[in-house]
Assembly symmetry: C2
Homo-oligomer: 157 residues x 2
């Protein structure tokens, strides 16, 4: 079974898949100087005939090494995952279904926004509680494609 090493999540490495949501880079000073606003960090893209919603996900923690063979994508909308904890979590993405998937590990102060149509693994927290706010498309279509690799991959630290 091929191994995939999880890399630290950076905006540059993640750019082809989505946005990193963190308190780095430019900001506006608000609330009499007591708050930094890192403005509009996610490319939200939900198409037409839909709205943007906030859902709360509570996912069972996994551990490394982590084996998977399923990826999925949402053809009709972007999907942001905002951890409601300071625990790093695992992010699996793929450029397409024929290349080797990529794995990233967040630093405990990062969310992500997967661009519309990005292939990704299911939500994989590494600690309890696996609590996330998810900002994605609310519509009446399935908005889901799944792909099973012919072989499993194993993510290692």
């Amino acid at each position: 079974m091929p191994n995939i090493s999880a890399s630290p999540l950076t905006a540059a490495a993640f750019a082809e898949f989505g946005d990193v949501l963190d308190a780095t880079g430019d900001f506006r000073l608000i609330n009499e100087g007591l708050c930094h606003r890192h403005h509009n960090r996610a490319k939200i893209d939900i198409g037409s005939e839909a709205t943007t919603g906030i859902s709360i996900f509570n996912a069972q923690p996994r551990q490394l090494p982590y084996t998977f063979s399923l990826i999925e994508r949402h053809p009709e909308g972007s999907q942001a995952f905002i951890p409601m904890t300071q625990h790093p979590f695992l992010v699996i993405v793929a450029a397409d279904t024929t290349s080797t998937p990529r794995a990233f590990l967040t630093n405990g102060a990062q969310g992500i926004n997967l661009h519309r149509g990005t292939w990704h693994g299911v939500l994989t927290p590494l600690s309890a509680p696996g609590l996330f706010a998810v900002v994605d498309r609310i519509g009446f279509t399935a908005n889901l494609e799944e792909f099973h690799y012919p072989q499993a991959f194993c993510v290692i630290a």
Copy 2:
């Protein structure tokens, strides 16, 4: 100076001001049973000629007792605050500018979504880091009204 006691944040007590975003109540089982999706918990309302965005706020922690005399509201849109930590934070809201404001304390696993036009205090984390994802209206207008009470209030535990 009048004291205001901070109450535990509950959906019922907060209903007139906004939504509580947490992993309670109904859910859909996704990802082969390993994740609960508490679906579409926030009433996002950004009006027309605007988009919904995700910004990251990094606010200086405050402490109780906490004195304030300023509240604000966003007449053109709702505003959700999702803590990226498990620290409780303080939520100050008011039904109008003539009644006594209300204070709530989150339980460490709750975000909030202030309904459009709800008077509220500035973001007041009680621990470092004061890190939040904020889902609100991205537009080209100020979308801000401020009100200074003629006297200060003091929030106590």
